[in-house]
Symmetry: C2
Subunit: 347 residues, 2 copies
């Protein structure tokens, strides 16, 4: 079932002009990824890109980097729909179009996520049976990763959209992980069947009747205990879930650092040095498990193509991770995403 792309056939489309630190950080991230043999086409102003590459590495031409000139820019505060329609020459629109044309197999952008979603929906098209595309990302848990969706594409959804997200998520996890029947749960304010908002209660009934391996409602602790493979929610709640995980672990790291400083003060210089060494080890071992940054981006599921949505604040390393994530996705099974069409048949 899994059909992989060889590296010779595949190419990543990168929107150089999207993101708070664009174009500098985006081009730098591309160079880092290309140094690991990932073929990338950079969409943006030709002269700007070449001059940035020259500055970063005079030998950049050794790496699989291609440039596709694009002179328009979609700005963060542009209206997504009109930006996509009135800026066909923008780096974002051209990068998405390259996937439609089969020139590239995945697009990565840290630009306006609204515009990226609109462009992906309009240009690539939604998969059959899918009413809304959703942003999906892997959350680190105690025992591995859980795919969570929607993380923010749709603040208002209907029960059937949650039902579709469940199918999209399960199909993606099945494709990239080899788990045949991923466990799917619905995020709620209690694990009991009767818990949840009206939306969740109605989606629960739809999912109960579905062919999916639906395990019911779940609270955040069940998610982080990895009791399911896919957790489904509306984009507003998913955004709060993701960002609370990030903020809470950030707070915990800050407390850990403060605790270590306080503890070190009581020690001899030698012991304090040892303590700092321990602390660095602990922090690194924890950071290694928190792969919000190491993944670098989230997937837009439900469109005909692989689209990676990066955070606007992405730096060069985050972009490298996002490009690597896109590459793994297309070479290790995301082609299967297209077969979701058959899976997502609404009742």
């Amino acid at each position: 079932l899994l059909k992989s792309l060889g590296s010779k056939e595949a190419m990543i489309a990168l929107d150089v002009m999207g993101g708070d630190h664009a174009p500098q950080a985006i081009v730098h991230g591309a160079l880092l990824a290309a140094q690991q043999s990932i073929p990338i086409t950079l969409f943006g102003p030709y002269d700007l890109i070449t001059s940035l590459l020259e500055k970063l590495d005079a030998g950049w031409q050794r790496y699989p980097l291609h440039i596709a000139h694009a002179d328009q820019v979609v700005h963060m505060d542009d209206d997504p729909v009109s930006a996509v329609k009135t800026k066909p020459g923008s780096s974002l629109v051209k990068a998405v179009s390259s996937v439609k044309q089969g020139i590239c197999q995945a697009v990565v952008s840290a630009g306006s996520s609204g515009a990226l979603m609109v462009a992906s929906t309009l240009i690539l098209g939604r998969q059959e049976g899918v009413g809304r595309a959703a942003i999906a990302g892997f959350l680190p848990t105690k025992k591995g990763k859980v795919l969570a969706l929607d993380l923010g594409a749709n603040t208002e959804v209907r029960p059937e959209h949650l039902y579709q997200f469940a199918h999209l998520g399960a199909a993606h996890v099945a494709a990239v992980s080899g788990i045949k029947r991923p466990r799917v749960a619905l995020l709620a304010n209690g694990h009991e069947d009767n818990k949840g908002s009206v939306l969740v209660k109605q989606a629960h009934l739809l999912l109960k009747e579905s062919t999916l391996n639906f395990i019911g409602n779940a609270e955040p602790k069940h998610v982080l205990d990895h009791e399911m493979d896919v957790i489904v929610c509306d984009g507003f709640t998913g955004n709060v879930l993701l960002k609370t995980c990030e903020a809470a672990t950030d707070m915990f790291s800050a407390w850990l650092a403060q605790g270590i400083t306080k503890y070190s003060e009581k020690m001899s210089a030698e012991n304090a040095q040892q303590m700092q060494k321990t602390a660095r080890f602990l922090q690194a071992s924890i950071d290694a498990r928190l792969d919000y940054k190491q993944v670098g981006g989230a997937l837009l599921l439900g469109v005909n193509g692989t689209v990676i949505v990066c955070h606007g604040s992405s730096d060069a390393q985050t972009m490298q991770y996002a490009i690597t994530f896109a590459w793994r996705t297309i070479t290790q099974g995301a082609i299967i995403q297209r077969e979701i069409i058959e899976t997502v048949q609404l009742s």
Copy 2:
């Protein structure tokens, strides 16, 4: 403005039969709190309570513990409204009624939170101008605590309810903290004014026109960075926010422990011992800041009286904390809650 109750005038009403570990853990928690001179009336079967107290401490009569017989029990799976109406002799209903009668000044229960809310609303009544009571709790942040509401009382709300929650939260923080104009924010999927669900966007407009110190929308990171004093959301989202904070910090603690074990393995026995000591210090310093357990309960705001809602899974220590929290609330300013009536005047 702040009027405090002396300890001689005040009494806590405790629902002995509510909670997963009732009555044992509840009675034990009461004893621990009473040993710290907090006067408590225990509502439940007289003989059962006395026999539990005898077993725990034969000298329990030295402490300010009173028993009010109640032979009916509200169960977790009872329908809240019918349970409150058909079980007037239950420990939960009698405990709430004692606050209405002025015998007790606050009620604490780990029983069905739905039934506790219904009983509080029906018996104590909602404050004027308040359409829904909300559960409010203090979240630990990098720099102190933020009052978050609603944490789960209302999964479906209208914009005016969020507006009222903002007023209730601000008035409570002003009363217990001395902050004159608490900063109030609305939880959203982005800090920009145009972010949020339809509900959040409409509530944003109401709050912008209010007399409150409204600072706009906030993401979870802004909450944990303590950029406001009160964070407002619907009960579904608030429940996800609270439980994700708890679950993420629990996960982080588990990782910290695993990291320490792994690091210790590389060390000499002596160094490993030192490391374990360090680890215990770090964990304790972090736990001290995570006061989910140390507070023990959340406040039901919007009713005429102090009501503390505890988690069903509360153990004896959690109940002790909840009783202490109730005590502090009534002796340090929650009386002021009644004055919210004047503050919450809807436009």
